[in-house]
């Protein structure tokens, strides 16, 4: 079901979507909706679906499908829509390059190398996990240290267990979900260690993945050493004050597996190759409110742009990207943005980075610090009360043209501040 491979790729497309995960599928559907006729989705795996296929837990689709689905169910339903709409899907295929005129160099297991022309391109390559090198964890280079998402793929798709006694570093959602997953598979999970004073995953995952199984979460604590010869034998953990570990209170914990759940970074090799302009905070390309990047006709969406915590938001954002890519292909673009959003107090970033005063937008943002009873302010044109914000939970607001009727500037500061 989740695989097709058109024997005859068309030589030219209206829209080519790079990546067949939820963002890519959403973009393809959006492109079709806006009238693009020839749409191709390219995925490097043997089947489309992306990371959803390994996310076998429930909790997906409450916004988008109005019911609770598992990752594979969400993927399969979405893909059925894609195939129903006569969208070409090339799996086992890889985009090597895009040139100045949006010609796509495609390498495929079945069709070899092809250069396809495309009026618009959507980048939807998702993200990669940060690895041990990203946080410079000291210690020996043993086997048994792996990222949580890789372990998830091993366990849920390939039928391999990473070990018998695991420590999890980082309280990102994938780590929390793997704590439960490994426990259900008979692996002993000793604990989750988080360097920050607050958890990084959704609150509901702390409850149903850790509390339900009596797995302790140690905040302000991190792994300071990794021991073992060939295979991991133990880790040393220590409490931290800020980022300085207190070695006098360090503890050696025997284990044969260390899972890293320390965040994702947008997968942007292709975007870098294209010399797109980047946002240093998201590590993704800068996007306009149409999700167009700094290169004409190249759009981006999903985790390629910024890391989302819910696939439902990815779907929403990528359908928008796809619709605009489709309009671009037909020469019917909306007028360009005229307002830049400036992240202010307790706002790490805003996506899109610019908006237009003539239409509705959903702006996504992430906060730097947890805060209760706060006020989200959009310059002095609009404010909204929010009960609480957490760095792990993306905030979104609808920005409507009526807020901006009296506004004549070209930049708007976005703040999330305590209520007076």
């Amino acid at each position: 079901m989740l695989i097709t491979n058109p024997k005859h790729l068309k030589p030219d497309y209206d829209v080519v979507v790079v990546g067949g995960g939820p963002a890519g599928m959403g973009a393809a559907i959006g492109a079709k909706e806006s009238g693009a006729e020839r749409v191709l989705v390219v995925d490097r795996e043997k089947e489309a679906g992306g990371v959803l296929l390994q996310c076998i837990h429930p909790g997906f689709g409450l916004h988008h499908f109005k019911e609770e689905l598992t990752g594979p169910e969400y993927a399969q339903r979405y893909l059925e829509q894609v195939l129903d709409q006569d969208i070409d899907l090339a799996t086992d295929s890889y985009v090597l390059d895009l040139d100045r005129d949006n010609r796509v160099k495609l390498m495929s297991g079945q069709a070899g190398v092809n250069v396809l022309s495309s009026k618009a391109v959507v980048l939807a390559m998702g993200a990669r996990e940060r690895t041990r090198g990203a946080i410079r964890t000291p210690g020996t280079r043993v086997s048994g240290v792996l990222t949580a998402g890789l372990a998830q793929r091993f366990v849920n798709m390939m039928g391999l267990l990473p070990g018998n006694r695991a420590v999890i570093l980082g309280s990102g959602d994938i780590g929390l979900i793997m704590a439960r997953r490994l426990t259900l598979e008979g692996v002993e999970v000793v604990g989750v260690y988080e360097i920050m004073p607050h958890a990084n995953g959704l609150n509901r995952n702390i409850v149903q993945c850790l509390h339900d199984f009596d797995i302790p979460l140690h905040l302000s604590t991190t792994v300071v050493d990794i021991h073992g010869g060939d295979r991991l034998e133990a880790v040393t953990v220590a409490p931290v004050d800020g980022f300085t570990p207190d070695m006098s209170r360090s503890q050696r914990i025997p284990c044969d597996t260390l899972l890293l759940s320390i965040g994702l970074i947008p997968d942007n090799e292709l975007a870098r190759q294209l010399n797109l302009r980047f946002d240093p905070v998201t590590s993704g390309p800068l996007v306009a409110s149409t999700m167009e990047t700094s290169k004409d006709g190249v759009f981006a969406c999903g985790n390629t742009v910024h890391i989302h915590d819910l696939v439902d938001f990815v779907s929403q954002e990528s359908e928008l990207a796809g619709r605009n890519a489709g309009l671009y292909a037909r020469g019917q673009q909306p007028p360009p943005d005229n307002i830049r959003l400036i992240p202010g107090e307790n706002v790490a970033y805003c996506v899109p980075q610019t908006i237009s005063s003539d239409r509705d937008h959903t702006v996504y943002m992430r906060v730097r610090q947890p805060m209760e009873n706060c006020l989200l302010r959009l310059g002095d044109v609009y404010e909204k009360k929010i009960r609480f914000v957490l760095p792990a939970e993306m905030v979104n607001i609808k920005v409507r043209p009526k807020f901006l009727q009296q506004f004549h500037g070209d930049s708007l500061r976005v703040d999330i501040a305590p209520q007076q």
Binding site: L2, I3, I56, G59, P72, N156, L184, V207
Partner: protein, 128 residues
């Protein structure tokens, strides 16, 4: 007897019904839930009442499969089952070996552990 003068006992829960993660307060008078506060939807009310009396969870896990595209088939309980049965259900599912092809929604284990809840496949698993 429940009278208006009795003070309810309040327990705090965090709703797992959706990613909003509402903070619930459940008022209990002599073992009966009298009020749920803090929820933003009906799911939250239902969750608070259920969680206070007899917690239930959806279970998702995988089952061994032969001849399929992947070695494991993801499965889920069609409905939530009592929380304390999660481990036993996974143990029961570990004893199964399925043959591809399998379709999404196929029953993998009917009436699991006499809960009245079926365990079903959560994707198609074609033959490879």
């Amino acid at each position: 007897m429940t009278t208006a003068t009795q003070q309810p006992e309040t327990t705090h829960y965090l709703c797992i019904g959706c990613p909003m993660g509402c903070r619930l307060e459940v008022d209990d008078i002599e073992g009966e839930v009298v009020e749920v506060r803090g929820n933003s939807c009906r799911r939250g009310d239902a969750y608070g009442r259920q969680e206070h009396v007899a917690p239930k969870r959806m279970v998702t896990t995988t089952v061994r499969v032969e001849n399929g595209r992947w070695a494991r088939l993801p499965v889920k309980t069609r409905d939530a089952i009592p929380k304390e049965l999660m481990g036993a259900l996974c143990d029961a599912l570990h004893t199964l070996t399925l043959q591809a092809p399998i379709s999404m929604g196929d029953v993998v284990l009917g009436n699991a552990l006499d809960t009245g809840v079926d365990v079903v496949a959560s994707r198609d698993m074609p033959v490879e």
